[in-house]
């Protein structure tokens, strides 16, 4: 079994992006209390988890934190848990934040991977997305990243933004590739319930690509980045080499245990999932009482685990590990589902060998539906 991963959620943002459904607040008065509580929460889990070989500080906007604040958190991690020297330690960075000195200090704190929320190289698109930064900030952030000596970093990009066509998207991709990031995430803009973007979409303020157009964007992204030397290893993720995949994120997809710390964070261990209060008050209140700030939990039935295994495996290029699946669920898929598998192979959605059922690029585009078939 792989070692567990640690996720730390920093629930603060300077401004709220209209498309975002992550838990975060723009009221930053309680930052230090929350940080102290995060450390407190880690302490409460010290018995249950001991070693993490990936740490991911996300949010929210962790780049709003000062070096000292980040130091408090990371010192807390080291104090309560073992972190092997080759652990992957990632932090999400908003290109609007931080100067070279700040980037360098991250390095000193032991952070070895940056995830830059670039989203787009078009100012127009950035405005639509309500981001704080401009394209120039993104270039500067990348410059700082490299100059601070980070060789492992990734960029987030968003496509399917109103007004964007395939051609302008290709330009963004070209721009990204020219900066040679070891990792790229390309997300299609999703209209999430109860976000300001969703409301204006419902009012008919803008259009989003239909299914056919979405597929074109998706295939074009994959083809373009593969041509540029990236491996399309998950629906929205690309790595320049195997070692540059996000080691942390992969834990979500294969049911490796992870501990989520901070408001709204989710954890998973041995078939059980639990999640923290999605409010700073609730979170702080529980911790003040020395109890874990858990809002809810679920113990997955075998059937639930099976479905999760399917839809998460089928999101990855590697696909379903047949031996592992047989071991966990006692099902020999190629044998028991021969006809349907053959028809999916014939239709070009999957490829099958003795070890795995792997989605093709077209298969990745419909991974959720594929999961329902098995």
């Amino acid at each position: 079994m792989n070692l567990p991963g640690l996720y730390i959620h920093i629930p603060f943002c300077k401004t709220k992006c209209p498309y975002c459904h992550f838990y975060s607040t723009t009221d930053i008065t309680s930052v230090d209390v929350v940080i102290a509580s995060i450390v407190r929460e880690m302490e409460l889990y010290a018995g249950e988890f001991d070693t993490f070989d990936t740490i991911y500080i996300g949010g929210g906007t962790p780049s709003l934190l000062t070096v000292q604040q980040l130091d408090v958190i990371l010192s807390g991690v080291h104090k309560h848990f073992l972190v092997p020297p080759d652990a992957e330690i990632t932090i999400e960075v908003n290109p609007a934040d931080g100067d070279l000195a700040w980037y360098r200090s991250l390095k000193d704190l032991g952070v070895n991977r940056l995830h830059l929320g670039v989203q787009s190289f078009s100012d127009q698109a950035l405005t639509f997305l309500g981001r704080r930064h401009r394209a120039d900030d993104a270039f500067a952030a990348l410059d700082n990243t490299v100059r601070a000596g980070f060789d492992n970093f990734g960029l987030d990009l968003i496509y399917g933004i109103p007004g964007q066509d395939l051609q302008s998207w290709r330009k963004s991709l070209a721009c990204a590739v020219s900066l040679s990031p070891p990792h790229l995430s390309a997300y299609q803009l999703a209209i999430e319930e109860d976000t300001p973007l969703c409301h204006s979409y419902r009012r008919g303020s803008f259009d989003i690509p239909d299914e056919d157009a979405s597929l074109s964007f998706f295939l074009e992204t994959s083809a373009y980045l593969e041509r540029s030397g990236y491996h399309h290893y998950e629906v929205s993720n690309y790595a320049a080499s195997t070692s540059r995949k996000s080691r942390h994120n992969q834990k979500y997809w294969d049911h490796t245990p992870y501990l989520g710390i901070g408001p709204g964070a989710h954890s998973f261990k041995e078939g059980k999932r639990w999640w923290n209060h999605r409010s700073i008050e609730g979170y702080l209140k529980d911790l003040a009482l020395e109890t874990t700030p858990v809002a809810g939990d679920e113990t997955l039935s075998r059937e639930e685990l099976r479905l999760e295994t399917l839809f998460m495996s089928l999101r990855t290029a590697a696909g379903i590990d047949l031996a592992a699946f047989r071991l966990k669920f006692g099902e020999d898929l190629p044998k028991e589902r021969h006809a349907i598998i053959q028809s999916l192979v014939d239709r070009g959605f999957i490829v099958v060998n003795d070890e795995r059922i792997s989605p093709t690029t077209r298969g990745l585009a419909v991974a959720d539906q594929l999961a329902l078939i098995f």
């Binding site: 999703a190 989710h266 679920e298 999760e308 998460m312 585009a365 419909v366 959720d368 539906q369 329902l372």
Partner: protein, 601 residues
């Protein structure tokens, strides 16, 4: 009381919604049949579907003791008849049990198609007819016009009419008085051998079947051995009596009387409306005239929505059948919908009522197949087949001749709707029309039409083109040649048997296309394109496609997204489980319902 001079047997006949039940209620109330509270509980509550729809499917009988102005007390037997054309045979048997009728006419709507149809029925039975203009309290009432219609359209003496408002309770006394004075007392010979006309039967879970009858001649009492002259069976009478608010046991029933007989008859299906009851050891010469075997004319299959509910449905049908002898059913099975029942109905309204009862009173969730008439097919080897179930349709090449039942439809409407109605009738393959103007501005239109067109969506469309002012009545006439075809629906090349329909070739394409379009709206996208086709044999007559999933995967799936996403997929998966697999395509129940529902919903 057995003196026939003090008995009056009558019925109320009216076009639908002209206020028949309200008047009946008033008569009951006025004669002190019960106080207001019991009245609510006992009368209204047992008939909620009929009440809601303003129609009665069962005949109800009740004896009203009335002390007339002449000081004598009379027994007024009111036989309430079903108020819809689907049940015209039942109406005729009720009328055969009476000596007179109240012909009720709505003061605002005037004479309508069923007013006429009912009048003719009453005339056939030589009944005394008392026209009663109801709803005179309505602001839109036009009594003068109705009086004019009584003369010109009904050909009745205008002096004979009465006016009332059943709702307000005015004019009731005059009606009761007219019943006593104008409707003749029954005739019959108590000393003659027993002959009793069955006009209805009801099922009582304690006593079995309760036969409703009118004694024409003779006397019947408990202990007698009776025989059904058509049915042939004999029974020993356990109890006889009158209908007051509840059954009132009597010593005997004698010529001229209306009442009930309980004789250990197990099921209502053993009793046929119109049959004659006589005594086993002293039978009458011949049965009373007018008996007809009631035959269903509209057929449809019923399936439980969840196939696990099949047994429950079977039990519900059995129970329902206890009280509805004209409903017939047998086992049926569909590849697509599983085990079910093929059912026969007297008409579309009857079908509606059965469906509603099963759903409401027996808590069943049903899928109903497209209603069909019974076709007559002559095969090349001269065998004659009657087919109402598309799955029994023989290969087209074996068929020498197809025929379908025709009706004569009588429609009345204000003249201004004539054009629209004629257009509709022609579209529905109406022929041999005739037109008359029974009164100023009013048209009566007769058409011969295939019954299949009428059960399809005629009635709703007729109502809409005549903006609700048209009235409609029909009778079956005969079978006529028809170019029939079987339209199959194919989903990715697989036939969905439950969706097949037997239709006239001219309607085949439209009907096939409509089915395909509706399926397209309801069947969710799948991993591959789905071809929907309508075919006659090997010939594709309509087609459409459902495109495949192209991209639906969510962009992000990290720690906080997984549970949410799983729940979403679980929901989809559950939905899929409830779908029927046809070949490799999952079809939701809603798709069947969408195709099977009639045009206008």
């Amino acid at each position: 009381m057995s003196n026939m001079d003090y008995i009056r047997n009558f019925s109320i006949i009216a076009h639908i919604d002209h206020g028949k039940s309200t008047l009946a209620d008033r008569l009951i109330q006025h004669t002190g049949g019960c106080d207001a509270r019991n009245f609510q509980d006992q009368i209204l509550d047992n008939m909620d579907i009929e009440r809601e729809r303003g129609i009665t499917i069962k005949s109800q009988a009740i004896s009203l003791p009335y002390t007339a102005r002449d000081g004598n007390t009379y027994n007024l037997n009111l036989i309430d008849t079903p108020g819809h054309v689907d049940f015209s045979y039942e109406v005729s048997r009720s009328l055969a049990s009476c000596e007179g009728v109240l012909l009720l006419i709505d003061a605002a709507q005037g004479v309508q198609a069923q007013t006429l149809a009912n009048l003719y029925l009453a005339m056939e039975h030589d009944l005394e007819i008392i026209p009663v203009i109801n709803k005179i309290d309505l602001p839109s009432a036009d009594v003068e016009r109705v009086i004019e219609q009584i003369d010109s359209e009904l050909g009745l003496d205008t002096d004979t009419h009465l006016k009332c408002s059943a709702k307000e309770g005015t004019g009731i006394e005059d009606i009761l008085e007219a019943i006593v004075q104008r409707i003749p007392p029954p005739t019959g010979t108590p000393e003659a051998p027993l002959s009793a006309l069955i006009f209805d039967a009801q099922y009582d879970s304690f006593r079995g079947t309760v036969i409703h009858c009118r004694i024409m001649d003779g006397v019947v009492q408990s202990g007698d051995i009776i025989r059904f002259m058509y049915g042939g069976a004999t029974y020993k009478v356990e109890e006889v009596g009158h209908f007051l608010l509840s059954r009132q046991k009597r010593e005997r029933l004698s010529a001229g009387e209306v009442g009930y007989i309980i004789a250990g008859v197990k099921t209502i299906s053993d009793v046929r409306t119109g049959d004659t009851i006589t005594l086993e050891n002293r039978p009458c010469d011949k049965p009373l005239p007018g008996f007809k075997e009631v035959k269903p004319v509209v057929f449809a299959s019923i399936y439980p929505i969840a196939s696990d509910d099949y047994e429950d449905l079977a039990v519900a049908l059995e129970k329902y059948k206890l009280n509805d002898a004209s409903f017939v059913y047998e086992k049926d099975a569909s590849v697509a919908l599983g085990q079910g029942f093929r059912c026969g109905f007297l008409g579309l309204l009857h079908l509606d009522i059965v469906q509603e009862r099963l759903e409401r009173e027996y808590d069943q969730s049903l899928i109903l197949s497209v209603p069909s008439v019974r076709f007559r097919l002559t095969l090349k080897d001269d065998t004659v087949l009657y087919v109402d179930n598309p799955s029994h349709y023989p290969p087209q090449m074996d068929i020498a001749k197809g025929e379908e039942p025709y009706i004569r439809a009588a429609m009345m409407m204000p003249e201004r709707y004539l054009g629209a109605v004629m257009k509709l009738c022609q579209e529905k393959r109406g022929m041999n029309s005739s037109l008359s103007y029974p009164g100023p501005g009013r048209a009566e239109l007769i058409y011969e039409m295939p019954l299949s067109e009428v059960i399809y969506d005629f009635y709703d469309r007729f109502k809409s083109v005549s903006q609700g002012y048209g009235s409609f009545d029909y009778e079956l006439i005969d079978f006529r040649d028809s170019n029939l075809v079987l339209v199959d629906i194919l989903v990715n090349g697989e036939k969905v048997d439950a969706l097949s329909q037997i239709v006239h070739r001219d309607r085949a394409r439209a009907c096939g296309l409509q089915a395909c379009e509706r399926l397209k709206e309801e069947i969710p996208k799948q991993m591959f394109k789905i071809a929907l086709q309508a075919a006659i044999g090997g010939e594709i007559i309509a087609r459409t496609t459902i495109s495949a999933f192209r991209k639906d995967v969510t962009a992000k799936c990290y720690g906080g997204d997984i549970s949410r996403k799983r729940k979403l997929l679980e929901k989809q998966k559950k939905g899929k489980k409830r779908m029927k697999m046809i070949g490799n395509v999952s079809i939701p129940q809603s798709a069947f319902l969408a195709v099977l529902k009639s045009d206008t919903d």
